[in-house]
């Protein structure tokens, strides 16, 4: 996909916790041929209210249309979209390398320290490194680890919080 002219948007959706909503929301993206980069769903700070965090590359006009289309769904309380500097986002990534490479020299260990990552499991065969951070930072660590051989790699979708004081939803749940 050509992402040059497009911005990475983060869409947050608050909804009732009803079955089947995930497909309804993702359909809105697929109908317009927009690839979802990442998606997480979890409980929000409010009881019974679920929060979706969706990231995708899109242009401004289209993302606004998509957000209105999402809000139109009966079980959706509200939806917003943000660009990167309006939110704080984190992903978590796990890397598996052989313990042998870890032991061979201290390159990996110093990398782990430099990146503020953690070694969360070591055994005779493999070592698992956990890194929480921004998308770019994780990508960078991946780049540095790759020459040593990565056995397995997994990353979560991003979770985000706005830079404003309250969860946006407070204005709608009361009605």
């Amino acid at each position: 996909m050509n992402t040059n002219t497009q911005t990475l948007y983060t869409v947050t959706v608050y909804s009732e916790n009803h079955v089947g909503l995930l497909t309804q929301i993702s359909n809105i993206f697929t109908r317009r041929f927009i690839n979802i980069e990442s998606l997480t769903v979890s409980a929000s700070a409010m009881k019974g209210v679920h929060k979706f965090t969706i990231t995708c590359y899109c242009d401004e006009k289209l993302i606004e249309k998509l957000v209105r289309q999402i809000e139109k769904k009966i079980d959706v309380l509200t939806a917003y979209c943000y660009v990167d500097d309006e939110i704080i986002s984190r992903e978590i990534a796990l890397f598996k390398v052989t313990t042998e490479t870890l032991m061979a020299n201290n390159a990996i260990e110093s990398m782990v320290n430099r990146y503020n990552a953690k070694i969360i499991e070591v055994n005779s065969l493999y070592t698992v490194i956990e890194k929480t951070g921004g998308k770019a930072e994780i990508q960078q660590l991946f780049g540095e680890l790759e020459p040593f051989g990565i056995l397995q790699f997994v990353r979560s979708g991003s979770v985000s919080i706005t830079r404003s004081k309250y969860e946006h939803l407070s204005d709608v749940t009361m009605c």
Binding site: G20, R31, K65, Q69, E71, K72, I74, D75, V172, C175
Partner: protein, 566 residues
């Protein structure tokens, strides 16, 4: 009133429907919905059931019923194939904002997900084409779910709702207690009116020299026909209508300047690109109306009245959105409007439309050719019903001819499948319309192709004695496709000629009176006979095989490319 009593889920459903004022249900029974039909047997005096011949027909009939009456149409079908047969109608109701509630049976809940006999994930299938779709698995949920369904279907921008009832929910006992739904916290049906945009819209209109209003079905849905007239008259704004807005304004109102879009009238289409302020009211800028987006009304400031925020800026950029119910927003803006005089501008529409009349219309409606023209038949039916009938159409040339050449005096008098263009819509929709409005004459125009897509509903006409007037405009072609082939595909008529049955004999087999007309001299008299007959009637009019709907703006082009003659 303590209306708590222990009843079966099916009885709870009957009671709930009656609480919502339902008096007619269009349906077809089957294994997974038998308990509901069993309960219906006891309620059949109050809840009239119309047995259709195919579930698609049930949905279109419910749509016709709703469009003619403004009430929510109700459909009752079984699981599996019964449910999937409703999907086309549901999609049609979605895109044309028609309130219907479709009730499907479902296998018992322990069997869900096991590929049980006649199990289909109808909630999943229907979700993209419904406003709301929900599976009811417990009898205790029924009253709540029905209340939600009717509220969602009919409020705000209306649309179809599907309720899928597992068989165990239909038979289990429940303490029935009904409460109407009046709000849902995650759903705002009518946006709050923004005073500022009301003021801005009025300012723009007050400053306009050449305003033009585009009127859609939203005005009819909002029952704001009178408010619209007052609005237009005060500021003297000429108006044009979309296909679905064809009966919003009386045909003889001096500000009614005709139809928009691909086969619309010349003046409104050309003047869309000439006006200085475009006032869209309850319409959604469909591509069949706008043609080429990039050259559409670029000179004009655009005001958009709509109830659905997702429509604003969806297809064209809007300068002033006026969100809310037109019943409220139109008077709110009208109050701020100054009396205006745009006589020359208004008159200029008549000149341009006059050109169309001379070049196109007169030859169509007073045809001199060897064969009867479609427009001629439509004009005669319209005249002989004093332009007061409910006109229902199928899809194709017949539809465009019916829209162009019938006239409507009253609201809710033009019922057609607009957004989806569903062939087969007409016959069942006409049945539904007549059942909703037995006091009115209902005339269906359909093609020889379209009538055969739901022809089985002649059985419904017979069994329920539905006195509709069916006019088959028989050109022995899938005419609209043939027209495109003639114009854009080098006259290569690939799979569009039709070998048709004897429609009059088919009608006769269903005990419906029928007649075929091939000669112009017989036409008026045959139409009169059809209208005088106390009962359903099928009139086959053999028309010119290679007739064309003109004018035509080729798809994706702007109005200056309009084609006026063959």
């Amino acid at each position: 009133m303590d209306n708590k009593e222990s009843v079966s889920g099916s009885v709870s459903l009957m009671k709930s429907l009656m609480e919502e004022g339902t008096d007619t249900v269009f349906g077809y029974p089957g294994g997974q919905i038998i308990p509901v039909f069993d309960a219906l047997f006891d309620y059949r005096q109050k809840l009239k059931h119309i047995l259709v011949r195919h579930e698609q027909g049930a949905v279109h009939a419910a749509q016709g019923y709703s469009r003619a009456s403004g009430k929510t149409g109700v459909v009752l079908v079984t699981s599996g194939p019964g449910a999937t047969n409703t999907v086309t109608g549901i999609a049609d109701a979605m895109i044309d904002s028609t309130p219907i509630v479709v009730i499907t049976g479902q296998v018992v809940s322990p069997l869900l997900g096991t590929d049980a006999f006649q199990e289909v994930d109808i909630v999943g299938i229907s979700q993209p084409v419904t406003k709301w779709s929900y599976q009811v698995r417990r009898a205790d949920e029924i009253a709540w779910a029905v209340a939600q369904a009717f509220y969602i279907a009919s409020s705000g921008r209306p649309g179809p709702v599907l309720l899928d009832f597992t068989k165990d929910a239909q038979v289990a006992m429940t303490n029935h207690h009904y409460e109407k739904c009046t709000s849902i916290r995650s759903y705002l049906p009518v946006p709050k009116i923004d005073r500022n945009s009301v003021w801005q819209a009025a300012e723009l209109i007050n400053s306009a020299q050449k305003p033009l209003a585009l009127v859609g079905q939203g005005v009819e849905i909002g029952r704001a026909e009178q408010e619209l007239i007052e609005f237009l008259e005060k500021a003297q704004i000429p108006a044009a209508w979309t296909l679905l807005g064809a009966s919003v304004m009386p045909f003889d109102h001096p500000l009614n300047k005709g139809m928009l879009g691909m086969h619309g009238n010349l003046a409104p289409n050309l003047k869309t690109n000439e006006c200085d302020v475009l006032v869209a009211i309850g319409m959604r800028f469909d591509d069949r109306v706008i043609g080429d987006v990039n050259s559409y009304a670029t000179q004009a400031k655009i005001i958009h009245f709509d109830i659905d925020p997702a429509e604003v800026g969806k297809n064209v950029d809007v300068d002033v959105p006026v969100l809310g119910d037109v019943k409220e927003t139109l008077p709110a803006v009208a109050k701020l409007l100054r009396q205006a005089d745009h006589d020359d501008w208004i008159e200029s529409f008549n000149t341009v439309n006059g050109e169309e009349y001379d070049k196109v219309i007169v030859n169509e409606i007073y045809c001199q050719g060897e064969h009867i023209a479609m427009g001629e038949a439509v004009r005669i039916v319209s005249e002989k019903t004093d332009n007061s009938a409910i006109i229902v159409t199928d899809v194709g040339q017949n539809q465009m001819m019916a829209a162009r050449y019938s006239k409507r005096r009253f609201p809710r008098s033009f019922i057609s499948s607009g957004g989806l263009g569903t062939m087969g819509f007409g016959l069942p929709a006409a049945i539904g319309a007549k059942i909703a409005r037995p006091d009115r004459t209902v005339c269906l125009f359909c093609g020889d192709g379209g009538i055969q897509m739901c022809i089985q509903e002649l059985g419904t006409v017979m069994q329920s004695n539905v006195k509709i007037k069916i006019i088959v405009l028989n050109n022995r072609y899938l005419g609209m496709v043939r027209q495109w082939q003639e114009m854009f595909f080098n006259k290569r008529y690939s799979e569009t000629p039709m070998l048709n049955p004897d429609f009059v004999k088919i009608a006769d087999a269903y005990r419906i009176k029928g007649r075929k007309v091939t000669k112009r001299e017989e036409l008026e008299e045959a139409v009169a006979e059809m209208l005088e007959h106390n009962g359903a009637y099928l009139l086959v009019v053999d028309v010119e095989k290679k007739g064309m709907v003109l004018p035509m703006i080729p798809p994706g082009m702007d109005a200056s490319n309009i084609i006026m003659e063959k």
